[in-house]
């Protein structure tokens, strides 16, 4: 689960990670109130959407930049008027963009030097890794590729936690000493405590800055949490912003389905994540384009299949449907009955190719054959994929 920058920074403050003073606002009146609490002078106005690339984004009315540096509070108020309620398109939002419903105002900081700091899971060692770099404010992937020697990693032993010598090692590599070193050390320890206690899956600060006064501040904050651990963090769940999520994905989750919208026109309904991914792949292989990832899980009921059909048909781009079920334990006939019921309910007018295999497959195929539905059967995944691609083309 992702949260907004302003929410992440509120958590930072709670754990003792220093951030510039800042306030969020959701209306013109709240913008005025937020600005009134900030000191007069240079101010940042930051659009709060989950997608990255905000600074280089463009609003649909042509206004440039989802992160604005303003010399005065009056300028900030004006920029805010252009941004709030407007739709921001960035490299990560897709062409439709994201409506900006919250703005975050912060006092602009004087920057001495920019750094990079992140904590995430290292899959190779199965330990948390702290990644730091002297190259902040730029894309970290580029640093990793061009100058890997400027990227420093410390792996934290979960049995002991972050050790002091590891913090000293990081500070040494980053060249931070004196007051800066002391402040950065406190920040790193606090950030790790937050990562560990909140079950975060990733925390990224880019840039982390030093100021001429010796402060060390998190200028930006990107934080996501482990979905599997949300059950023990109601305070994190409360931060969820449904406006940032695809309504179809939310609806799918309500029915215990895992759905992700894609750009193509062949809808997929599959059991199992691996099979669902490879169903998308095989459609592409035969020249088609998948409209979604949809995993109905290992024990799908008739109701779930009906819900799945409604969700995939809610996508106006869909021109055909591919049902691919390997019912190992799952009864193929349950799926078949679900398909028949769904088609009756939604009045399907699109081509439908069904590939059923596994447990009780004969009964499932008989149900489909006797349903009177105009569907096409596929024998193997390849056969079925070729059929749906041809029907949609």
């Amino acid at each position: 689960m992702n949260v907004h920058e302003y929410q992440a920074k509120a958590l930072f403050e709670k754990y003792g990670v220093a951030v510039p003073p800042g306030y969020a606002a959701r209306s013109a009146a709240e913008c005025d109130a937020a600005l009134a609490r900030l000191p007069e002078g240079p101010t940042m106005v930051k659009a709060q959407i989950h997608a990255g690339g905000r600074g280089k984004g463009t609003f649909t009315d042509g206004f440039k930049g989802g992160v604005k540096f303003c010399r005065t509070k009056a300028e900030a108020r004006e920029a805010a008027g252009r941004m709030l309620g407007n739709t921001l398109v960035t490299l990560q939002t897709g062409p439709a963009g994201r409506k900006v419903q919250t703005l975050y105002f912060t006092a602009a900081s004087e920057i001495k030097k920019e750094y990079y700091l992140a904590i995430l899971l290292d899959r190779v060692t199965s330990r948390p890794v702290i990644v730091a770099s002297t190259e902040g404010g730029v894309e970290i992937e580029k640093v990793a590729h061009d100058t890997p020697e400027k990227l420093f990693k410390v792996f934290v032993d979960p049995a002991y936690g972050l050790a002091d010598f590891q913090v000293r090692e990081l500070l040494g590599r980053l060249g931070l000493a004196g007051a800066e070193g002391k402040n950065a050390g406190k920040l790193i320890r606090s950030l790790f405590a937050m990562y560990w206690e909140t079950d975060a899956s990733m925390i990224e600060i880019n840039p982390l800055i030093t100021t001429p006064a010796g402060q060390v501040l998190a200028l930006d904050a990107k934080v996501s949490f482990d979905d599997s651990a949300l059950f023990r963090h109601p305070e994190i769940v409360a931060l969820r912003d449904l406006n940032e999520e695809d309504p179809k994905e939310i609806e799918a989750a309500k029915h215990g389905l895992s759905y992700i919208a894609l750009e193509g026109n062949i809808a997929c309904l599959v059991n199992g994540a691996g099979l669902a991914m490879s169903t998308m792949d095989i459609i592409k292989h035969f020249g088609g384009s998948p409209a979604n990832f949809l995993d109905v899980g290992g024990g799908a009921s008739k109701e779930q299949v009906v819900a799945a059909f409604k969700i995939i048909l809610g996508d106006p781009n869909v021109k055909g449907i591919f049902v691919n079920i390997f019912g190992g334990i799952m009864d193929c006939n349950v799926i078949a009955l679900g398909i028949v019921e769904a088609v009756k309910e939604v009045g399907l007018k699109l081509p439908l190719v069904v590939r059923l295999e596994g447990n009780n497959v004969a009964a499932g195929k008989a149900t489909l054959a006797h349903s009177g539905l105009a569907l096409v059967s596929g024998d193997t995944m390849a056969d079925a994929a070729q059929k749906i691609v041809k029907l949609v083309a």
């Binding site: 990560q92 899971l121 899959r123 190779v124 199965s126 330990r127 948390p128 992937e141 990793a144 032993d157 979960p158 049995a159 560990w196 079950d199 899956s201 482990d226 979905d227 599997s228 651990a229 059950f231 023990r232 895992s258 992700i260 894609l262 599959v270 059991n271 199992g272 994540a273 691996g274 099979l275 669902a276 991914m277 490879s278 169903t279 998308m280 792949d281 095989i282 459609i283 592409k284 292989h285 998948p290 990832f293 995993d295 290992g298 390997f326 190992g328 334990i329 295999e357 596994g358 447990n359 193997t380 995944m381 390849a382 056969d383 994929a385």
Partner: protein
């Protein structure tokens, strides 16, 4: 032979009194697997009954292992308690814990894996379909089935199958069996980013198993486990290997159902992994329908018979 489990392996089921664990305990018993104990704290002394079989239930894994000689556990415990259930297997000195549970918090698994370091217990999973060593009876009955995989699609033979995904494993096994090619053991290592046994661990076991003559290695986007396994295969494995990587069409940064199936950088895309497979002499299945055929091609190239 086989790897990890044989038809003689005695297993216990943690969470046998739950609907999910109970259903699959029944299916394993039907398959002919020696399910000798169940564990549910507070229900010790009761029995799990299925047809004419009465499986005793114990309060702890240690009690169950001591009383029944079980050496392997199948874990069907809900996510908040699953980490604890795994550690209980370690404490009881079991050989193998197979965690089926999906949705265990990553932090719990990080701690569990650290706590298991140096112990004699191997963990397979979590979030995995389990392990099947097929038997010699009808529809491979009489084998050892741990977890949730369909036993009946298997056939006793000499191909080792390892995968993160359940249904994709079934797809591969089904293709093999349909072509008359049997399996030594099929292992689902699970779709989570932190798991107990890696692709490479299983590949090493298959390589050392004289009864396994060829291997299907199924992977997906995210992490570098498949790459690690492929490089080892190139240097050490003389057996024919076919591979498939799911997720070529997955958009970057999105989690595709499995918690671990996410493209984080250039290295963990399907294309990058497929390139490494080819470089390492692994015959790549062009589509998921091509997995068994890819293995047949690989075997033919090395003059190995699969049936």
């Amino acid at each position: 032979m086989s790897i990890l489990i044989t038809p003689e392996t005695r297993i216990l089921v943690q969470g046998i009194t739950g609907a999910f664990g109970g259903k699959h305990a029944q299916l394993s018993l039907d398959y002919g697997t020696k399910v000798v104990a169940g564990v549910t704290p507070g229900k010790g002394g009761q029995f799990f009954e299925h047809n004419s079989v009465k499986v005793p239930i114990f309060n702890s894994v240690a009690d169950a292992a001591k009383a029944t000689g079980a050496t392997v556990s199948a874990i069907f415990v809900p996510p908040p308690f699953a980490g604890d259930a795994i550690l209980e297997c370690v404490d009881a000195g079991l050989e193998l814990a197979v965690a089926i549970t999906e949705g265990i918090p990553i932090k719990d698994m990080v701690r569990v894996k650290r706590a298991m370091a140096g112990s004699k217990t191997r963990l397979v999973g979590p979030n995995c379909p389990g392990i099947v060593t097929p038997g010699t009876g009808k529809d491979s009955n009489g084998g050892c089935r741990i977890g949730i995989a369909p036993g009946y699609i298997h056939k006793k033979g000499h191909v080792g199958v390892v995968s993160r995904s359940g249904t994709l494993t079934y797809e591969a096994v089904f293709q093999l069996t349909s072509k008359g090619i049997g399996q030594s053991t099929s292992v689902g290592i699970g779709g989570d980013p932190v798991n107990g046994t890696s692709h490479l661990d299983v590949i090493k076991l298959f390589n050392a198993d004289p009864d396994t003559h060829a291997i299907i290695l199924i992977g997906e986007i995210g992490g570098n486990a498949e790459v690690e396994a492929a490089r080892w295969i190139k240097a050490n494995c003389k057996k024919p290997v076919a591979g498939f990587i799911a997720g070529a069409t997955a958009p970057a940064g999105r989690r595709m159902g499995h918690a671990g199936a996410i493209v984080g950088g250039a290295e963990d895309t399907a294309a990058a992994k497929i390139a490494v497979f080819k470089e390492c002499g692994i015959e790549v299945a062009v589509t998921p329908s091509d997995m068994a055929d890819a293995l047949i091609r690989a075997a033919r190239a090395q003059g190995v018979t699969l049936t």
